[in-house]
Symmetry: C2
Subunit: 348 residues, 2 copies
């Protein structure tokens, strides 16, 4: 668990990197003709977001290089062969892919709100949203292809991003198929989460190591760090959906439950005999009352399901930090460890 001081340190690291990443997004993804397309592409990026994945990417670069946090220029970060690599582009490409998946997922899941603003398909229209996502998709590859890394490493980074995107699609496909099934076991669910969410954390963590020319052992360790902390992140997201007030969450608390979305919590509850499908009567997040959500949460707590989710997330986080042992000791590795803790202690 993080103490108040380490959490403050992590939040500070996220904030200062977020500002760098946002400035880099402006540079790498300018609004140009056709303006409407690029405005729609940037809409969700501009609506907020903590830039957690780019934080992982930049912090991983520092940890691989064995230097202290924020002591180097990410645009000209010294690779292990002494040549400069634009690590910030790698970080931006990951965030751009994340935005593309949010835009397309919101169409598929018919989610109308994102980061407290209308989803792109609501703010614009479905065609524009499909196309905005498609534009971000190729832009991410354009941006990542220009880091200045050794070409063999640059190509390996492209492979990592491409295979990650394929896996995200597979994960989203499983997630959609789960909606029409009532026989999902926790293992299948965790596989879906790994594909849909964790692999992008894996890529975010491993990307810098690939570009800087680190050994496979280091690349693999960072990838596994990302996978385990990404899975923990998603489980925490599911917990937050039930426990954080709607106004802080940017959407109705309990939405997942109302929409019948399966989570590790509901799967545990089912196995514990809870009648999950009838925990709330409302059919849409707009109809549900806070009292209904309170009762549902009480039932899930009673069954030990929320505790189970929290404990699973804690185990994954502990495992994620163990992978980092191959990296040089120091402030950056230590901050990566703290970040993993933060992902499951964060309140929003």
């Amino acid at each position: 668990m993080t103490t108040e001081t380490t959490e403050a340190r992590v939040l500070e690291a996220i904030r200062e990197r977020r500002d760098l990443v946002n400035a880099a997004v402006d540079e790498e993804l300018p609004v140009q003709p056709p303006e409407r397309l690029y405005e729609a592409s940037r809409y969700i990026l501009e609506a907020g977001g903590k830039r957690l994945r780019p934080t992982v990417t930049t912090l991983a670069a520092e940890a691989v290089a064995g230097i202290d946090p924020m002591t180097a220029d990410f645009r000209e970060f010294t690779g292990l062969d002494g040549e400069p690599v634009d690590v910030l582009r790698a970080a931006v490409s990951i965030e751009v892919i994340q935005s593309f998946t949010l835009i397309h997922d919101d169409i598929m899941d018919e989610d109308d709100l994102r980061r407290g603003v209308p989803a792109v398909h609501e703010q614009y229209d479905t065609s524009t949203a499909i196309l905005a996502g498609d534009t971000l998709y190729s832009k991410a590859f354009e941006i990542l292809s220009e880091t200045g890394a050794d070409p063999a490493d640059g190509l390996e980074a492209i492979r990592l991003l491409a295979s990650t995107c394929t896996e995200i699609c597979e994960g989203q496909s499983l997630d959609v198929s789960f909606e029409s099934r009532s026989d999902i076991d926790p293992e299948e669910y965790l596989e879906m989460v790994e594909l849909k969410t964790a692999v992008l954390y894996g890529a975010a963590a491993a990307m810098s190591a690939v570009l800087l020319g680190a050994d496979d052992e280091v690349v693999d360790a960072l990838y596994q760090y990302g996978i385990d902390s990404g899975r923990a992140f998603q489980i925490q997201d599911d917990v937050l959906d039930l426990t954080v007030p709607s106004d802080e969450l940017g959407k109705q608390r309990g939405s997942d439950l109302v929409e019948g979305k399966e989570t590790l919590i509901t799967l545990h509850a089912r196995q514990a005999g809870v009648d999950v499908n009838n925990l709330v009567d409302a059919d849409t997040p707009a109809e549900v009352t806070e009292a209904e959500v309170d009762d549902a949460v009480a039932a899930l707590e009673e069954a030990g399901s929320i505790t189970y989710a929290r404990e699973t997330a804690e185990e994954l986080t502990a495992r994620s930090k163990e992978h980092l042992q191959v990296l040089p000791e120091g402030g950056s590795r230590s901050l990566l460890e703290d970040l993993a803790d933060y992902l499951i202690t964060r309140g929003y």
Copy 2:
């Protein structure tokens, strides 16, 4: 203009390469879990298609190397540095991108038929179609990243594919925006066609040269060949929509006109004073009669609009062939020239 003999030669070249490309698609894009996603991703690829772009890619490789058609293994094609390059993967990646754009475009344009079968969003559903397109998108980059080319050339090929995809999105965005405008001039229209259609021909033609390590002059010449013949190809497509019987076309003849889609033909006709918006009364391709289409075509012929389109396509084709002068003379270059002719003389 092609003679019967050269057309037969081109058709033979297309056929033999199509079989190789189809076999390679099976190898590079196998159906794997989640099966439904991969089946949907392959659905349009399996529904047919002439594989014109992969034909351009493989033929360009032979022309760059200065060898006769079909005398080398595309899987181990000798680069200019003597090292083997998998040119077939490059060809497959181009076709896979083409399929992704068809799937997403059909959703946006609400086109329900493609290659004589239901569009993916009709055969499956919109979510699956979005995701199938997204999967093909990343698969194309995965496939292209594994050609075995020199890494610097491999990375340059990735850049070419990524920037091409961005331009295709820009072109589709312009195309969609044209639907709500009545003041498009032919220049704007041709720019849209260049982005939406021609750049993928440009990439298809230049890709092999990039991977084989050819000089920039050769890469640029092949790119321009693809751009000009790709623009001609699209204009011919617009002519065919009006002149080929519906059963050969795989969709209702005159669909573009019924749906109010602007083409070089309608833009010319407008400038010649034709009341294009009232050429047909029907609002959907299902409602229009052959007689109505006949009358509309007669009016467009009367205005010289179809002749104008044909002549423009011929000029572009002549220009496209001039670019090839930098390549070594021989059977492959000559076949590339014939292919450009075929693109505007083909009947379907």
